[in-house]
């Protein structure tokens, strides 16, 4: 076999170039020994991007294997473009979450927009019509000079893309913390709906089948983006601008409609979007899943710029492109439907049985301007396996974080005026209203948003499932959660809390959790303490997913979230999809009727303030004893809550999370302008401020008609869940016995202005 050629102007590969491309010295050695030759320049590009952390999961794979991924409801687990869970009658919910952190820090609008575009493609590539999106955002401290620019840009970018393509953005979360000052997080989630039997997969099946390139033309944008996503930021970050892609949501809307119509004809054997590492990863992954090879004719790649080299074409991350494997002889059907939607489509290669990834191109030939004649030579010839299963996999060293004795006792001094303190907390950027954000998202397009942002603990959407027997309406609940501060203090417990809060949000709107997707944002895995955090968090996620019945069906890992050696808070974001049996089971978070009884479900707080918003504001750092979580008690609470919702016994439900009991009550009051008169759930040992602001998990505040108290109490008792009647919906103030009394109007005003200081 002849050695693949460099293109004119390309240097010979070398250890120096390999290092520049992100390969470690021993990885370069491994390339040489496996190939028994030096790779061509284009091959080195292909190898380095496929071996990047972003594509290979080389530091995380050994740990990800510990996550529970099965269950009777799981239709598709991890490994495909997205996961899927059964929602009955032959339909499934297809979903995934993905990070776009590094690009969003460099260019917030386009970084966030293309993050949304990428996750939408992952979902519709599976044959599902996207029905709702969420986003989970982290920014630096509110008064950091870059925060306003980043927040405005990211929100505008998410809206710009999602609004245009017409998929409602129905919720999400945002947190500000100084650990994200130099490394924001943008995690985008989309759920779609498909017929389970018609799911599409990224497989290059059928030797001889044509590979069809559909969508936007290839340019130089985003080259080596996946490698950027696998490195820390430093001072030269600003020079990375060309690695950020530019999105075109209109093109994606055409792709979406064309793809769904093409899929329905059954003329494809596989499809994959070109996301990170573009043409390279899409073709290599498809070949790998089918155990086949792929040969690409790079001369045929549609392009929008002159003189693209094979290296550039293979590594470009130009957006809105799909790679389809058609059944031989049915190419024309693909072309016809692409023409209907005004999309370009060309045959760019064939499926082979060689198990190799081969690319040919003609030096000096440029179809863009008709220079030269095609006479291709081999520029890439690599075993597919080398780029996938045989890619490096590391069990990196871990080292537990040293115990900090001071953590344990830190509870903060009791403030003098708890009412004023509550008003202030309710209006702080991490707690207050996010309406400035979600008003910029079309959260109602597709006529399905039944519980809108801010109305419940999770969003509820109606989806239309159409088959031969007609159209059925089904109701899904979606939420995303994580509080990195609790993960920082206790990686296992904090990660478990993220899953617990997310599933709790789902049951609080009356839905049963079905499955979970994760987006694991951590620091440098080569630092043993960071690797330890990651491994601990995986174990926490695994334990909670198992206990709470939410298997992991898809996910994404984002490491190296550090700037100049300073890591972000460990942030294993999770999103859960649940389903309501009946839309009449749905519950909002706000009190709706004067005179209803207010009750506290779950064990009352012990007053542990570790990691709480209040203590962070008070002390200026993420500190205190970790709050811990009892997963058995959490599971019982969630089962009881779901039964209460299904029995239509309660009128509202809101879980206690960020900000604690006081904030939870305030939010339930503000929602519809009702007051409440309550006592703190019984606990004599702790000071009032600790009970008011503790973020201990596994607690829910419900309101219910007085006549239902007995039945609700009985159900809780049956599940072993403490039930305590703490007051009534009444008046125009939030009155907490012996603690404070604050007008709802004052709370609402503070709440609504929470982001004003940043965005105005």
């Amino acid at each position: 076999m002849s050695t693949p050629a460099n293109f004119p102007g390309e240097p010979d590969s070398s250890p120096e170039i390999a290092r520049e491309f992100g390969l470690a010295g021993h990885e370069w050695d491994r390339v040489l020994s496996t190939l028994s030759r030096a790779p061509s320049y284009a091959e080195l590009g292909v190898i380095s991007v496929m071996w990047s952390e972003h594509c290979s999961y080389k530091s995380s794979r050994v740990h990800l294997a510990r996550l529970p991924t099965t269950g009777p409801q799981v239709v598709q687990g991890p490994g495909e473009n997205a996961g899927a869970v059964d929602i009955g009658d032959g339909f499934c919910a297809v979903f995934k979450m993905e990070s776009h952190n590094h690009p969003s820090y460099i260019e917030p609008y386009q970084g966030a927009a293309t993050g949304v575009g990428g996750i939408l493609r992952d979902v519709f590539t599976m044959g599902a019509r996207p029905v709702a999106s969420l986003n989970s955002l982290r920014f630096g401290r509110p008064d950091h000079p870059k925060t306003p620019h980043l927040l405005k840009g990211v929100v505008a970018g998410i809206g710009g893309y999602g609004n245009c393509i017409g998929v409602p953005t129905v919720g999400g979360e945002v947190q500000f913390d100084e650990s994200y000052d130099g490394n924001i997080l943008v995690n985008a989630f989309t759920v779609g709906v498909a017929k389970s039997k018609d799911l599409f997969f990224g497989v290059a099946e059928g030797v001889g089948n044509p590979i069809i390139y559909v969508g936007a033309k290839t340019g130089r944008d985003g080259i080596h983006g996946a490698t950027m996503a696998s490195a820390e930021f430093g001072e030269e970050t600003d020079s990375k601008l060309p690695t950020v892609q530019v999105g075109d949501p209109f093109m994606e809307k055409l792709l979406l409609e064309a793809c769904l119509e093409i899929f329905a004809t059954d003329c494809l054997s596989g499809v994959q979007d070109m996301g990170a590492a573009g043409l390279t990863s899409s073709s290599v992954e498809m070949a790998d899943r089918a155990g086949n090879g792929i040969e690409l004719d790079l001369d045929a790649i549609p392009r929008r710029t002159k003189a693209l080299s094979p290296y550039e074409m293979l590594l470009s991350e130009s957006q809105e492109r799909m790679l389809m494997v058609a059944k031989e002889g049915r190419e024309q059907e693909v072309f016809d439907l692409c023409a209907k939607w005004d999309l370009d489509a060309s045959i760019v290669g064939r499926v082979t049985d060689t198990g190799r990834f081969v690319c040919k191109a003609t030096p000096g030939y440029d179809p863009f301007d008709g220079t030269g004649k095609p006479d291709p030579v081999v520029v890439v010839d690599l075993p597919v396996d080398l780029l996938t299963n045989a890619a490096p996999k590391y069990d990196r060293p871990q080292e537990a974080r040293p115990e900090r004795a001071s953590l344990v006792t830190m509870t903060g001094d009791a403030p003098d005026d708890l009412g004023a303190e509550l008003v202030r907390l309710v209006g702080s950027p991490n707690i207050g209203s996010r309406s400035w954000i979600w008003r910029q998202y079309d959260h109602i397009v597709r006529n399905g948003t039944v519980i809108r942002p801010g109305e419940g603990d999770a969003a509820v959407i109606r989806v239309f499932c159409e088959d031969d027997s007609g159209t059925r309406e089904k109701f899904l609940a979606v939420s995303s959660d994580c509080n990195g501060r609790h993960v920082e203090l206790d990686p296992f417990g904090g990660a478990a809390m993220a899953v617990a809060e997310c599933t709790r949000n789902i049951v609080c709107v009356g839905a049963k959790p079905l499955g979970l997707t994760d987006c694991l944002n951590f620091g440098n895995p080569e630092v043993p303490e960071q690797m330890w955090r990651f491994a601990q968090a995986i174990d926490g996620l695994a334990a909670a997913c198992t206990a709470l019945g939410a298997p992991v069906v898809s996910g994404n890992v984002s490491l190296y979230n550090e700037t100049d050696g300073k890591a972000i808070l460990p942030t294993p974001t999770v999103a859960v999809v649940g389903q309501l049996e009946d839309p009449e089971h749905r519950l909002g978070l706000g009190f709706i009727r004067e005179g209803d009884v207010i009750a506290h479900l779950g064990r009352p707080a012990r007053g542990v303030l570790g990691g709480s918003e209040w203590l962070v504001q008070r002390s200026g750092s993420v500190t205190g004893a970790p709050v811990g979580i009892d997963l058995e008690a959490e599971a019982a609470l969630q089962h009881a809550m779901l039964e209460l919702a299904r029995g239509k016994l309660v009128k509202s439900a809101h879980d206690i999370s960020d900000g604690g009991f006081g904030v939870c009550l305030a939010e339930a009051c503000i929602a519809h302008g009702h007051g409440a008169s309550v006592t703190l759930p019984s606990n004599d040992d702790a000071p009032a401020h600790a009970l008011l602001f503790s973020e201990e998990p596994s607690r829910i505040i419900v309101s219910l008609p007085a006549g239902n108290v007995g039945e609700v109490g009985d159900i809780c008792k049956r599940y072993g869940v403490p039930f305590e009647k703490i007051g009534t919906v009444s008046g125009e103030t939030l009155a907490i016995d012996g603690v404070c009394e604050v007008p709802i109007e004052e709370l609402a005003e503070s709440h609504s202005a929470a982001l004003d200081a940043i965005v105005s």
């Binding site: 505008a156 809206g159 710009g160 609004n163 245009c164 393509i165 017409g166 075109d248 949501p249 209109f250 093109m251 809307k253 055409l254 209907k340 939607w341 005004d342 309406s435 979600w438 008003r439 910029q440 998202y441 079309d442 959260h443 109602i444 397009v445 597709r446 006529n447 948003t449 039944v450 109606r462 239309f464 159209t471 839309p583």
Partner: protein
């Protein structure tokens, strides 16, 4: 009643309109693709919201040159009822079927929320009576209605102003954010001179069902049905 919902590349509230008219109201309704040249035997036409042609160049501008436009123009000139919602409103102004123009919201952001509007003029879509206050959602970045002072006077004289933004009680916004985009005269929707073509920024088709917490929008479609004599 038979209703064609026009589908441009980038229309994205096409489903919302089809669902409201067909599944909720019970009319016959179908998508008319922009490459078609006929609207069939439609009794009414809805141009739905979205981002036709990505709103590149200018919102609604390129859709004003689609093959189906001639059919829409002809239908409208025969007096057929046409409703343009959001991007559909923008398209109708670009096609010259409605006066004025829609520009970037005064605050420069996309905005999605419920607003109130007051019916200003009765017509095929607005037989609910002048002064009726509706709650409807908006979802747009380019909804700031603009016309010259002269044009505004003409609209007022001819009773072409279909809706104005208002407070919950029907009072004028008086500079408050009850007018969500800075539209001149608080205008939320206008009729053509003959009053068979209506363009509006708020979305009645997204507020036509109890399950969505609001069915104020259904009154427009019921009005249309009565106007056409189907009940």
């Amino acid at each position: 009643m038979r209703v064609a919902v026009v589908q441009f590349p980038g229309s994205n509230a096409d489903w919302d309109a089809l669902h409201a008219v067909r599944d909720v109201l019970g009319a016959d309704a179908w998508y008319a693709f922009h490459k078609e040249t006929s609207l069939g035997d439609a009794d009414a036409v809805v141009i739905p919201g979205g981002f036709s042609y990505g709103d590149y160049l200018r919102a609604g501008a390129i859709a004003g040159f689609s093959p189906i436009d001639n059919a829409i123009g002809e239908f409208a000139s025969r007096g057929g009822p046409v409703l343009g919602i959001c991007n559909g409103f923008q398209i109708l102004t670009e096609m010259g079927l409605l006066p004025g123009a829609l520009t970037r919201n005064a605050h420069l952001r996309f905005e999605c929320r419920d607003i109130h509007l007051r019916v200003e003029s009765e017509g095929p879509f607005t037989d609910m009576g002048k002064g009726t206050v509706l709650r409807l959602p908006i979802a747009h970045a380019d909804g700031r209605y603009h016309t010259t002072e002269e044009g505004l006077g003409e609209l007022e004289r001819n009773g072409q102003i279909a809706f104005r933004y208002s407070t919950r009680n029907g009072d004028a916004p008086n500079g408050s954010d009850a007018n969500p985009n800075g539209s001149v005269g608080d205008i939320a929707g206008v009729y053509n001179r003959q009053k068979n073509v209506l363009g509006m920024m708020p979305h009645p088709e997204r507020a036509s069902e109890g399950i969505l917490g609001n069915d104020d929008g259904l009154s427009l479609f019921k009005s249309l049905r009565r106007h056409l004599g189907f009940e």
